[in-house]
Each structure stands twice: as C-alpha cells, then as structure tokens.
Amino acid sequence: MASFLLRRLLALIPVLILVLVIVFSLVRLIPGDPAVTLLGPGATDAQIAALRAQMRLDEPFYLQFVNYLLGLLQGDMGISLKSGAPVLQEILLRLPATLELAICATLVAILVGIPIGVLSGTRPNSIFDHFTRVFSLVGVSMPAFLLALILQLIFATYLGWLPVSGRLSPYIIMQPITGFVILDGIITGQWDIVWSAIRYLVLPTAVLAAFLAATLGRFVRNTMLEVMSEDFIRTARAKGLTRAQVVLEHGLRNSLLPAITVVGLKFAEMLGGAILTETIFAWPGIGRFMFEAIKNRDYPVIQGTTLVFSLLFMLTSVLVDLLYGVLDPRVRKRMK
C-alpha cells in the first residue's frame, strides 16, 4: 500500500509541474504589461517599476518560473494586492469554510444519491425509476446560481425558516480553534453555535449536493442494472438469500466501486460550483475569495486559489485510488 501511494504521488509530479506552468502563465496572459494592469490606472512610474522588480518581470520567462517554484516550496504564493497580506495565509484562513461546505455536500449527496440509484436500479422502468431519471437530468442541467436563488427565495425570503446568507449568526462571537465552525462548537460544547452553523449550512449544502446527488443517482442506477444481471447475483438468489441481502451485500457492494470514482471526479466540479454558491450565500470560503479577487483584479490571489482548487482535486483523486484498494481485494492485490 505504501509503495503504491508513493508511486501514485510520484506520477503526479509531471502533471503538477504542468499545472504550475498553467497557473504561473495566468498573469502573463493578461494583455499588455502585467505590472501596469495589476496596479490599474493612476499608478506612478515608481510603483510600476517596484512591482516589475518584485515580480521579476525583467528576467527571462524560465527564471521567473523557477523563482515562482522556489517561492512556492517555501509557502510563498505572493502578496495580495488588495489586503497586502500573504496569499497563503489568506487562503488557509478561508479553507476550512470551503472544506466544511464541500464535505457536508458530499455526505448529503452520497446519502441521497446512492439509495435513489439502488432503488431505481433494482426496479427498472418503474414510476420511481422514471422520476429518478428526470430528477437527475434536471439536477445536472440546473445552473447552480439558479437553484441557489430559488431556494433562497422560498426558504429564506418567503418562509423565513433559514438565513439568507452567511456562515454564522452575527450575534455569535467565537474564537476559532480548527476553523471548522461546527467542529469548534462541538469541541467547546457550545451547542447554540452548532445549531446556528447548521442552519446557515443547509441551503448552500443543498445547492452543492444537488448536482452530485443527481449524477451519483443516475450512475449507481446504471451500474446496479448491470451488476444485478451478473451470474453471482443469480447464485446468491439460488442460495436462498433474502432480496435485501442480495441487493445490499452482493449488488450494492459491487456497484459502489465505480461510484467512488464518480464522487471523486465530480468533487472537482463541485469545487467549481463552490465559487458560485459561496458568492451567492456570502460563504467566507476560498471560492468567494477568488470571486472577490477577480473583481479587484488581485491576480496573485486568483493564481493562489486556482492552484489550491487544483491541488484539492489531485489529492481527491489519490484518495479515491486508495479507497479503491480498501474496498476491492482484487485491486488491493495489484497495489502490492
């Protein structure tokens, strides 16, 4: 397992270098002199010269890239042009909020998507199955911002059951320990904080989870259909197992494996959706941070957040491969 992990991580290196080239090139894609564009109108020649020197724009492209890499290795993602603080520090401050949202949404999507898929996969062409198919197609065709607005309008504006936006009631003051509000609330035993955080979490989670649940439901349905026609299912039935045992222990277990890949792949798309969701719900994560950086033309922050999103995606794909090994003995054997 350890050697598999090592090989998997080593294989990531060439991809990672290319990812870094792309992220690095982003600022260089800006038409004109990056320093002039970054500082905007009204910058003095001295300021422009200083920024050119700081960004080493006078050096050749490959040297600039090497310096960028060396900086990254020391945790230097540059300085935010807006706040003047190190980009990495600003990102780490906001990362827990995004992770909290993404993890909750993934859990909800799994809890909703897999049962839906199993139910319609074991009853193909039933009314429930048709309903699932339409639900999942609407789910993947729905712009995240539209679903967010509709949910906000119904549950926050009209019914008043849930808060419109934010992460925690403005009347609650708390010292962050881990940065994960719910976890912090549980650690310190402040259940009012936990309750408030959950209320704020419901709508953005629903928006992010909808897309993943729809994709997952459809995928599990199709794999269930295939698995349930396999010989070992017939054997299990012939042994006299109950329907529930056949479906859960033999059918589901074998359809779960490909489903994990889908969750991993779609996790990335969900991170993209987080930019829209966080912006609409004023969720203080890195998605909204990136959106604000775009409005402010804060390119070091755009670079940093793009890189972090990509790293999260790559880590997820490694994690998915490892999970594969845990769940499938055949794969585990090959990993050794």
């Binding site: 060439p14 991809v15 792309i22 992220v23 038409p31 339409v134 509709i150 798309e269 959106f291």
Partner: protein, 279 residues
C-alpha cells in the same frame, strides 16, 4: 433515416427534448421579430411590472420587456453553444488525433498537458482564464472552449489509437499517402461517431459554464441580453420582482435540459452494451 425514426421511437425523452429544443430555436429566431419591444428599449415609467398581456414576463428595473430580452438572449446562448463546442472540437480533435496516431513522445507530451488541464475543476480554470483574458463574451467563450477541449482530445486519441492499427490505415500508409490525408480521410472520418456524442454532451456544459461566467461578471457585459448576466443584473430585485431574474435562469435550465436529454440518449445509442437494453 429508418435508424433515426427507430431511435426517436425508442427514446421518448430524447424526442421530447428534441421537440422542445426545436420550439426554443424557432422562438428565439422569430420571437424577437414579432415582439413589439426592443431588447434594450427603456421604459422607466413601466419598470418592474408583473407579468401581463402587454408584457408576458413583466418588465425589468429599466422597464425593458423581460420576454423580449429572454428571446434575444436565446440567440446569444445558441450561438455560444455552437461557438464554444466548435472551438473545443477543432482544437481537441486536432491534438487528440495527432497524439493517438503519432504515438511516442508526441503522444506523451500532448496527453500530459491534457492531464494537467483536467486537473483543474473545469469552472475554476474557465474563471481563471476569463479573468486573465479580461471580461467579455468572446473571452468567456474562449476560456470555456479551452477547458472543454481536453475531453475531445481524450476521445479523439482513443479513437485514433484504435483506428490507426486497422488494415485500411496500414494499406494507406504503405501506399505512401500523405499523413495529413490519412488523418483526415481515414482516422478522423472513421472515429467521428463518439466525437459527435461528446459534442452533443458538451453543448449543455458549454452553455452552463458560459452563463456562469456571465453571472460572475466575466462574460457578456450589459446591456447585452445574455441569460447568465441578466440573472445577476436583476438579483437586487429578487424579493419584489423575482420573475425578472428567474426568467432568464429558467431559460438556461430548459435549454440545457433539452441538450442533455438528446446527448444522453445519443450516448446510450452509441454504447453497444446499453443499446441492447434500450431495444
């Protein structure tokens, strides 16, 4: 033709999607011609009116007819879908076919770049690129096309790999035909099916992503009646006049849903394992 009829009869959802899509296309072509209003014609005295006979979907904060704007936006949206998918198709297929046919170092380099581009969440990369290019509809379309191209490259490469070992390609090579001609006449032409499925599946994402960029202010700029931009421009009136922002949003949903219904059924159709299930 009989294959098409058979396909439509077996795929009621795809047929429904196709019919609605035809209706949408007709509406956005002829609707603006019939509508008595212009998409940017101001009428501030009648701003934020609810749906009525005069204004089927009401008016926005500047008194513009929402229905007219949605219909005009549809023209942009369909053009965006076509434009983005075409660019992604040409770029992706070019590199993918080359990689699969040439093999070796060329294949390695092209596919590593493809892997790297697929290591970004698509929307994140599109947003970052659009931010670098500068906010405009053309730049947003280019950014989305760049993020979709790697998927075409993947499909084209696997097609080229499978086809380049076929006897007719070997025959063409031994006849001394120019590589460009072999690629075009044999490799590309014979691998077209799955690429067209990929194209039909990409339409939905192309429209969704460009609309998302528009929503974030990185795509079409006002007063252009693009759907995504129109949703975000009317957010502040959500409470009193939700139809103004929701109408273009629902139009996106409807159009993307139609494309996905068709693309989905086509994908099933081209997949032999699933095709038996449908028949």
């Amino acid at each position: 033709m009989t294959a098409l009829v058979h396909f439509l009869r077996k795929n009621s959802l795809a047929t429904a999607g196709g019919l609605v899509l035809v209706a949408v296309i007709l509406a956005v072509i002829f609707g603006p011609m019939i509508s008595p209003y212009g998409p940017t014609k101001l009428d501030v005295l009648n701003k934020l009116q609810g749906p009525s006979w005069a204004h089927w979907l009401g008016t926005d904060s500047l008194g513009r007819d929402v229905m007219t704007r949605v219909l005009h936006g549809g023209r942009y949206t369909l053009a965006i879908g076509m434009g983005v998918v075409s660019i992604a198709f040409v770029v992706g297929v070019l590199f993918g076919t080359l990689a699969g046919f040439a093999g070796g170092a060329v294949d390695m380099i092209i596919m590593r770049v493809v892997d790297a581009m697929l290591s970004f969440p698509a929307l994140v990369l599109a947003i970052a690129l659009a931010a670098a290019f500068g906010p405009s509809l053309n730049n947003a379309m280019l950014a989305v096309a760049i993020t979709l191209a790697p998927q075409f490259a993947r499909v084209a490469r696997s097609q080229a790999l499978a086809i380049s070992v076929k006897p007719y390609v070997e025959a063409a090579v031994s006849l001394g035909l120019p590589t460009r001609r072999i690629l075009w006449r044999y490799v590309f032409a014979n691998g077209l099916g799955p690429l067209l499925v990929q194209a039909s599946l990409s339409f939905g994402s192309a429209i969704l992503q460009t609309a998302s960029l528009g929503f974030l202010g990185l795509g079409a700029q006002p007063p252009l009646a693009e759907w995504g931009a129109d949703v975000s421009a009317n957010l502040q009136y959500m409470r009193e006049s939700p139809w103004v922002a929701l109408s273009p949003g629902m139009a996106i949903l409807l159009t993307v849903l139609c494309f996905n219904l068709i693309g989905d059924s086509l994908a099933d159709w081209f997949n032999p394992r699933r095709r038996n299930e449908i028949d």
